[in-house]
Structure formats: structure tokens, C-alpha cells
């Protein structure tokens, strides 16, 4: 696909992904045990370093799709490839290793509220740490330094020893971004990262993601349901409706008619975040 260049900030003594990487879905179908088909024969390729919005209403399959990319959901058929990893083929240690190269942030932040910001961000070092080190609480100096740099890059370093539950929603999502960045990922996934945030905070978190894409060159896939965020912050948009790709093209020039095709209904006021 694209040439795989080594990122300048990669640590010499740490195994890290040499990204950015492309993401390829080939004829992926996901059928849940209750019979719901969340994805139907989805094939698409996201180029290395692209910033892509996956847009659709809730239930359109976008959450399932993003989870097939890091193997949290296994495809019923079809294959998923992220850079050198054939994610849909992997299990156990190899799957954990692949996940270590793919960062993810969530709508509900998914932090351990009673643990410190530091420990939450240290979660991002899991795949780079032997289990015994985590169990004994012996993170290496390099792991600690990586966590501190990540927290610093999202402006959360001064809160490093605070409890995660004591932070505001926007701060929590920044810590979650730092957790993902601590992985030194080649690909960043975001599942409705701003749906639990107020509009100004939502804009600043989206700006953070765009900055990560621009400065670190990470491939970013972000699930959104709001059309203005997709237009403003991403370059390419994939529209999902009932588990099928119904739009794939530039985000900025997507018309209201394109969004109506994705939503399957006229555009409403609540499809925009506003300022």
C-alpha cells in the first residue's frame, strides 16, 4: 500500500510498531449469536496515515466494525488486516501483540475510576510489559517515561497522581487518549469519542485526534454520528447503514443528501453538534 516509514519518536530499546499502517477489511460479515447481522460483506481499505470518519446511526454497525479491527469482535466470515497483522486469524499472545499496536478510545472513556491517572495510562504499556512486571508493580523507567510523555502531550501530566474518577469528562477522554498513545500505536481507533462530552469539549477532543493524525501520522478511524464533526475534522468518510457501506468518499464535500442516504431519513437538527 503505502511505504512504511519508521516514526522518528520511536524508542530505540522498545519494540514498537513501525507505522502508520493501512487497515483492510475484506468481505467482513459479523453475525452475533442472537442472529443480528451487524456487518454485511464490508470491504474497504484505509490508507496508512488517513483520518477517516465512520458515520452512521446507532445500530448501523459502526461500533462492531471498529471492534473487528482490533479483534474485540471476531468476524463471522471475511478477513481483517492491519499493517503486518492478519487480525482475524490471530489468537492469544499474537492477538494481544497486534492489539498493542492498535490504540482505541471509547465513548464511556473506560477508565478504572479508583485507579490513578498514571495507572490508567500505564494500561497502554500492557502489550510491551511482561505480566510479572505488571503483577509486581515494577514498570520499567522507559515505560514510566512513555506514560509521562503521553500524558504531557494531551496536557494531563499535572493530574498524573490524581484518581481518574475525580476528573471531568473531557479530562477523562484525554487520559484515555494518553493511554492509547502510551501503546505507541500505528493505528488509532475511536468509538464515538465525543458522544458523552459537551460541544466545546467535543471539539477540543476531535482537534486532539486530528493533531495526533497530523503530527504522529497515525492512521485514525473515528466513529461519529454527527455530520458537522465528520466534515470538519476528517478527510474521508465511510457511511454505514444496516451493516453495509453506503457511502465512501471525501468528508468535507459530503452533501446533506449523502448524509440522508446514510441516515435513511431527512437530516435533523440533532445530527449536528454545533459550536
Amino acid at each position: 500500500m503505502n511505504d512504511l516509514t519508521t516514526r522518528p519518536e520511536a524508542e530505540g530499546d522498545m519494540p514498537s510498531a513501525s507505522g502508520p499502517w493501512p487497515v483492510e477489511l475484506d468481505d467482513v460479515t459479523v453475525r452475533y449469536p442472537n442472529g443480528v447481522v451487524a456487518l454485511k460483506n464490508v470491504s474497504l481499505t484505509v490508507g496508512a496515515g488517513e483520518m477517516v470518519a465512520v458515520v452512521g446511526l446507532s445500530g448501523s454497525g459502526k461500533s462492531t466494525m471498529i471492534r473487528t479491527i482490533n479483534g474485540l469482535v471476531a468476524p463471522t466470515s471475511g478477513s481483517v488486516r492491519v499493517g503486518p497483522h492478519a487480525v482475524s486469524e490471530l489468537r492469544g499472545r499474537a492477538l494481544r501483540h497486534a492489539r498493542g499496536d492498535i490504540g482505541m478510545i471509547f465513548q464511556g472513556f473506560n477508565l478504572a475510576d479508583r485507579a490513578s491517572v498514571f495507572h490508567n495510562a500505564l494500561v497502554g504499556r500492557f502489550s510491551h510489559m511482561p505480566t510479572w512486571r505488571t503483577t509486581l508493580g515494577l514498570a520499567t523507567e522507559a515505560d514510566r517515561a512513555m506514560v509521562m510523555r503521553s500524558l504531557d502531550s494531551v496536557g494531563m501530566l499535572e493530574k498524573v497522581w490524581h484518581r481518574a474518577g475525580a476528573l471531568s469528562g473531557g479530562q477523562k477522554q484525554r487520559v484515555a487518549i494518553a493511554r492509547a498513545l502510551s501503546q505507541e500505536p500505528a493505528v488509532m481507533l475511536a468509538d464515538e469519542p465525543v458522544a458523552s462530552l459537551d460541544p466545546p469539549t467535543a471539539h477540543s477532543v476531535m482537534a486532539d485526534l486530528a493533531a495526533i493524525n497530523a503530527s504522529r501520522g497515525l492512521t485514525v478511524l473515528v466513529n461519529l454520528h454527527l455530520m458537522d464533526l465528520a466534515r470538519q475534522y476528517t478527510t474521508r468518510m465511510i457511511g454505514l447503514r444496516a451493516g453495509e457501506v453506503v457511502y465512501d468518499g471525501p468528508a468535507a464535500s459530503a452533501t446533506d443528501a449523502d448524509f440522508e442516504a446514510i441516515y435513511g431519513r431527512p437530516v435533523q437538527a440533532r445530527d449536528r453538534l454545533g459550536e
Binding site: L72, R99, G100, R114, H119, V123, F126, T134, R270
Partner: protein, 275 residues
């Protein structure tokens, strides 16, 4: 977001859906409970024999002892210090050892922290067996095995406490929201890593309050353990009871009460701090 004009609310009484009838079910439950109670208290049908008349016939026998207990004999106090101290030592050591053992066992016995179903079932089965054996049976067997003294008492308390702490803490883990687990898995963590760094801090409040509860139970139980020679203040209780010195017994009971109240106060302070 709702576009309904305010006037429509004032215009007509809102259509309240019919309230579901619950009284037949309530009546049924009450009837079943009444019949069960009647059956279990009817000897002719295999129920237990409850002779309320016996209370009227025999109450004076007990009243005599209660009367003595209402006038505590404080002269026994000097003799109680040593066994009371031994009881406290046994309670603390027993609670501490069981607390340490309960950490991994609780994590292994709960579904979110141990997805391996056969392993989880095995841990739970062993714990059920441990809980099923009465503490006096442990103490009697252990006194025979390791001799009279504090050691069989401590081992009994450890077994008893593990059963309680692990059951209550693992149930707390089962019922808690564990969204942070998904983040740990997405980062490529092993279950042990996720448990150590995030599940453990989330569990502290439940853990601390159950360990404090087990400490309180230990003080009360070790009063019984002395009956079979397993150390502590129970030996003195047995002796006083043998000599019908219910006034001295009352002093010991008061001492135990004070210790239990002190432990509860300490537990409340700890819990407030951990909140």
C-alpha cells in the same frame, strides 16, 4: 430537544397507561409463605416442634441467670486481660492471613476478572466446601491435629474468613461495572495485567469493608473456639459458665462488646477514607 409545544400539556389530562395489576401475585406470595410457615411448625406434618408453653414453664430458670448477668462482677477483669489479648491477636492474625489469600481467590472467583469458566467453577466449589464446614468442626479437628492453643484457633479463623471475604468480594466484583476491562483488552493486556492494574483498585472498598467485618466476626467466634481448646477468651467463658458465674460471664461479654464496637468504628473510618 422535544418539539412538543407547552400548551398541549395543559390542554387535556395525559393518557396514563393502565397500571398493571400486581395484587394477585403479592397475595400468592403471601399465601405460599403462610402455608410454608404453618407446615414447618406442625410436627404432625414433619415440621419442627415449637412448644411455646415451655417458655412460660421454664423462664424462671433463665431469669435467674439473666439477673446475675445484669450485675457484672468486675473482680474477674484482671484474669481476662491475657486471654482477651490472645483473642485479639488470633483475630488480627487470622484476618490478615485470610485477607492476603483472599486477594487472588476473589479475583479468580468472579466472572469479569476470570473469564475461564471451568477454573472459576473449581475455585467456587472449593470455597463452597470451605464455607460448608462449621467453624467448630475445623477447630475440633485442628486441636486434635496440632494441639491445644492459639494455632488451631488461628487456622480455623483463616478458613472461616476466606469463605466469607472471597464470597462477598467476588460478588461485589461480579455486580460492578467493568468497562475498563475492554480498554485493557483493547490495549493487548492479559487478564492478570488487567486485574492487577485496574480491577484491584476498583475492588478495594468492598475488600476493606469485608476484611474489617471478618475481623469483627473473629473476635466473636474466638469466644466459641475456646470451648474446644482452640485458645482465646473462650476458655475463660467456658470456665465461668461451668461454675455458674454468670456475673463474671457478663463482664467478659461486655468486654467483647466493647472490642466489637471499636472495630466497627475503625471500619467506618477506613471506609469513609476509601470512598
Amino acid at each position: 430537544m422535544t418539539q412538543a409545544p407547552a400548551s398541549s400539556v395543559a390542554k387535556a389530562a395525559p393518557q396514563v397507561p393502565p397500571k398493571p395489576r400486581t395484587w394477585p401475585r403479592t397475595l400468592g406470595i403471601v399465601a405460599v409463605l403462610a402455608v410454608l410457615t404453618a407446615l414447618t411448625a406442625t410436627p404432625a406434618l414433619g415440621g419442627v416442634e415449637i412448644d411455646l408453653g415451655a417458655i412460660a414453664k421454664n423462664w424462671t430458670n433463665g431469669a435467674d441467670r439473666i439477673g446475675k448477668m445484669l450485675t457484672p462482677d468486675l473482680s474477674v477483669l484482671p484474669r481476662t486481660w491475657q486471654p482477651l489479648l490472645e483473642t485479639l491477636q488470633m483475630a488480627v492474625v487470622g484476618a490478615a492471613i485470610s485477607a492476603a489469600l483472599a486477594i487472588p481467590l476473589s479475583l479468580w472467583a468472579a466472572r469479569p476478572t476470570n473469564p475461564n469458566a471451568p477454573f472459576r467453577a473449581a475455585v467456587r466449589f472449593v470455597l463452597n466446601v470451605i464455607r460448608a464446614v462449621p467453624d467448630l468442626v475445623y477447630a475440633t479437628i485442628l486441636v486434635a491435629m496440632v494441639g491445644v492453643g492459639a494455632l488451631p484457633g488461628v487456622i480455623t479463623l483463616v478458613l472461616f474468613d476466606i469463605g466469607i471475604v472471597v464470597k462477598l468480594v467476588s460478588e461485589a466484583i461480579d455486580s460492578a461495572d467493568a468497562a475498563y476491562m475492554e480498554a485493557g483488552r483493547a490495549a493487548g493486556g492479559t487478564q492478570s495485567q488487567i486485574n492487577r492494574l485496574t480491577a484491584l483498585p476498583q475492588t478495594w472498598p468492598a475488600y476493606v469493608s469485608q476484611v474489617m467485618y471478618s475481623l469483627e466476626l473473629n473476635v466473636r467466634i474466638s469466644a466459641i473456639l475456646g470451648l474446644v481448646g482452640a485458645g482465646g477468651i473462650g476458655r475463660l467463658i467456658d470456665e465461668m459458665r461451668g461454675f455458674y458465674r454468670y456475673d463474671a460471664l457478663s463482664t467478659i461479654v461486655l468486654e467483647i462488646l466493647i472490642v466489637v464496637v471499636l472495630i466497627e468504628l475503625a471500619s467506618n473510618v477506613l471506609r469513609k477514607r476509601l470512598r
